[in-house]
């Protein structure tokens, strides 16, 4: 009898579930372009892709655009397996990844730039000594076996322990910093592992904000959000101190810590899949408007035109 009671309850639950399914299926069913575009990759570039997908969904209501954030490496891996149509990347695709793609028969990769990202080296606001550091000094602080005391960076700096905060090894920010600041200065050097590491920029920012001896780095967009609590360090890459700003990132003066944000897709998809083609076209055309909204830097006009020209052959 008790068992019957359970199944009586089960029947009611089934009814509720069926109702849910019915409600859920009352989705859009109109005319126009239909399809599914899957985007995945860099979490740095996620806000841009999200903005594009959001606006695109308003225009092309029949196209489902899904955006994930499994990281640049993860996104390109899925891209090479043909699981997604567009890969977001915060660094250019590597030789090895191109080879992996080729092994799976994907040889028509198209790279498009959508924005510029800049990294910012930050210190505690009461740190009045490290206002400007040379690329070499930043390298020597963050390299494996590097400086542990501020007085080693420059004899005029106070005799204080350096505490460091850096993004975790899975983040595109970390990869980019290693390439620009560690390998870029000394090919044989490694990023040190004894600094506090976190994938979460919040933790890095809070760590630096609460420690007068701290130094750390993360994306410029994030710095703009939380900047009031921290000091950005100007970088001297051989032609004077350049403090990070939208202007210098766009003009290319802020070296080596500004970089392009990219998307990868396939020429064959642009040619054959109307939904992908329309989305990529929308991505490139709307980037000037959407990129600043989510805190990144737009490309200079000539670079933008170069991207438009790259997809032009595939447009009807």
């Amino acid at each position: 009898m008790v068992v019957q009671r359970v199944f009586g309850l089960g029947r009611r639950a089934l009814l509720v579930a069926a109702l849910g399914v019915l409600l859920a299926s009352c989705g859009y069913s109109g005319d126009g372009l239909r399809g599914n575009v899957r985007i995945d990759g860099s979490s740095t570039a996620y806000p841009i892709a999200e903005a594009v997908a959001e606006e695109f969904s308003k225009v092309e209501r029949g196209v489902r655009v899904d955006v994930g954030f499994s990281g640049t490496g993860g996104g390109l891996e899925k891209f090479c397996r043909g699981e997604i149509h567009v890969a977001n990347a915060s660094r250019p695709i590597t030789e090895r990844e191109v080879q992996t793609c080729a092994d799976k028969g994907i040889t028509d990769i198209l790279e498009l730039q959508v924005a510029i990202d800049a990294l910012t080296v930050v210190v505690h606001p009461s740190n009045d000594w490290a206002q400007c550091l040379t690329t070499r000094q930043v390298h020597d602080i963050f390299r494996h076996g590097g400086y542990t005391n501020w007085s080693q960076v420059d004899p005029s700096y106070p005799d204080r322990q350096i505490t460091g905060y850096a993004p975790g090894t899975d983040s595109g920010t970390f990869d980019y910093f290693v390439e620009a600041m560690i390998k870029g200065v000394d090919e044989t050097a490694f990023h040190r592992g004894d600094f506090t590491a976190s994938e979460d920029d919040n933790i890095l920012a809070q760590g630096v904000a609460n420690d007068t001896n701290a130094i750390g780095y993360f994306g410029f967009a994030y710095f703009v959000e939380v900047g009031q609590d921290l000091n950005a360090v100007a970088i001297d890459d051989g032609h004077g101190c350049i403090a990070p700003s939208f202007e210098v990132a766009r003009s290319g003066e802020y070296t080596p810590l500004s970089r392009p944000l990219l998307i990868y897709t396939r020429e064959s998809l642009l040619a054959e899949d109307e939904a992908v083609r329309t989305l990529v076209q929308f991505y490139i055309e709307s980037s000037d408007e959407l990129v600043p909204e989510v805190g990144y830097v737009t490309m200079p006009e000539d670079v933008h035109q170069a991207q438009v020209a790259k997809i032009a052959p595939f447009l009807p």
């Binding site: 008790v2 955006v67 994930g68």
Partner: protein, 302 residues
């Protein structure tokens, strides 16, 4: 006895001393102290939860509006909502439950009531106990390899539900086994003695007794599935979905993935969204738990 032993040097005192002294006094002090220490540990755990809860509610309550349930994700924190993730969660969890109830409970009944007691069964039981302790990310990797890639389901609702099903299967089986073992053997023997078949005995006498425990196990396992993030991110659940799911082959997002996405965003507004999402998820999980308690009480009365 212990009392008299402690005062041998004072023979003129009464033999029975109600004031404990020496080792007994120490034992009683320890007993009193342990009570306060244990109370302290309990309060520490509960107060951490209360502080977290209050903090979350304070951050997120303002965002729990009707629009929060009906809006899709957005780049604007004040327009972002849980619609696609609530629908995704309902799909994934319904499918997970549809799989875990028959298979989990069936396995438990077989192990406890029908299986031959031999070495193979012993190995199965040990494996179940071990599997229940495997971190969820491992199930994510398994799901990615088997369901998403080998079986070509893609990062679909089906693949997500199968992954969560595998994840909560061991704990469902173990909870159900415990519940079945609670039914006294005399009931089985009575039933069999009156001529009932083994299946009639299980269906008519063992299951009704074991039902509260089995349901509790299923619901607690479902609560864990409802809050699972890592395994679903691993199989490739998306974060931005701006439509309502209509089929089990759809791509999907779920509430925890949405919360995780919001917490990684720098803007203050997204943190409020994340807190609001946590409130919604907490209410859902709490409802599961209360539901389990209510059902258990209902069955216990019979």
């Amino acid at each position: 006895m212990a009392v008299t032993q402690t005062v041998p040097s004072a023979p003129h005192e009464p033999a029975v001393n109600l004031e404990a002294s020496g080792r007994v006094a120490r034992r009683q002090r320890l007993s009193r102290a342990s009570r306060y220490v244990l109370l302290g540990t309990a309060l520490l755990g509960v107060s951490a939860l209360v502080v977290l809860g209050i903090d979350t509610v304070m951050n997120g309550w303002g965002r729990v509006t009707p629009e929060f349930f009906t809006n899709y994700p957005s780049r604007f924190a004040d327009q972002a909502g849980l619609r696609s993730s609530i629908i995704g969660s309902v799909w994934v969890l319904s499918l997970t439950m549809a799989l875990v109830v028959p298979i989990g409970l069936g396995t438990a009944i077989w192990i406890e009531e029908f299986a031959p007691q031999n070495a193979v069964l012993g190995i199965i039981k040990i494996n179940l106990a071990n599997l229940a302790g495997v971190p969820s990310i491992i199930y994510g990797v398994l799901g990615l390899a088997i369901f998403v890639r080998f079986l070509s389901f893609g990062p679909s609702i089906l693949a997500g539900a199968l992954t969560l099903f595998l994840m909560i299967l061991p704990m469902t089986i173990i909870a159900a086994q415990e519940a079945i073992r609670q039914v006294p053997d005399s009931i089985r023997q009575g039933s069999l003695a009156l001529g009932a078949s083994q299946w009639q005995t299980v269906w008519g006498h063992v299951l009704p007794g074991a039902m509260p425990g089995m349901i509790t196990g299923v619901i607690l396992a479902m609560a864990r599935a409802a809050g699972e993030t890592a395994a679903l991110v691993m199989i490739g659940a998306f974060a931005f979905i701006a439509y309502d799911n209509t089929s089990i082959m759809d791509n999907f997002t779920v509430i925890p993935v949405q919360i995780y996405n919001w917490t990684t965003r720098p803007q203050e507004g997204f943190r409020a969204d994340a807190a609001a999402g946590i409130i919604v998820l907490m209410v859902i999980v709490l409802t599961f738990n209360i539901g389990a308690a209510v059902l258990r009480e209902r069955f216990r009365r019979h």
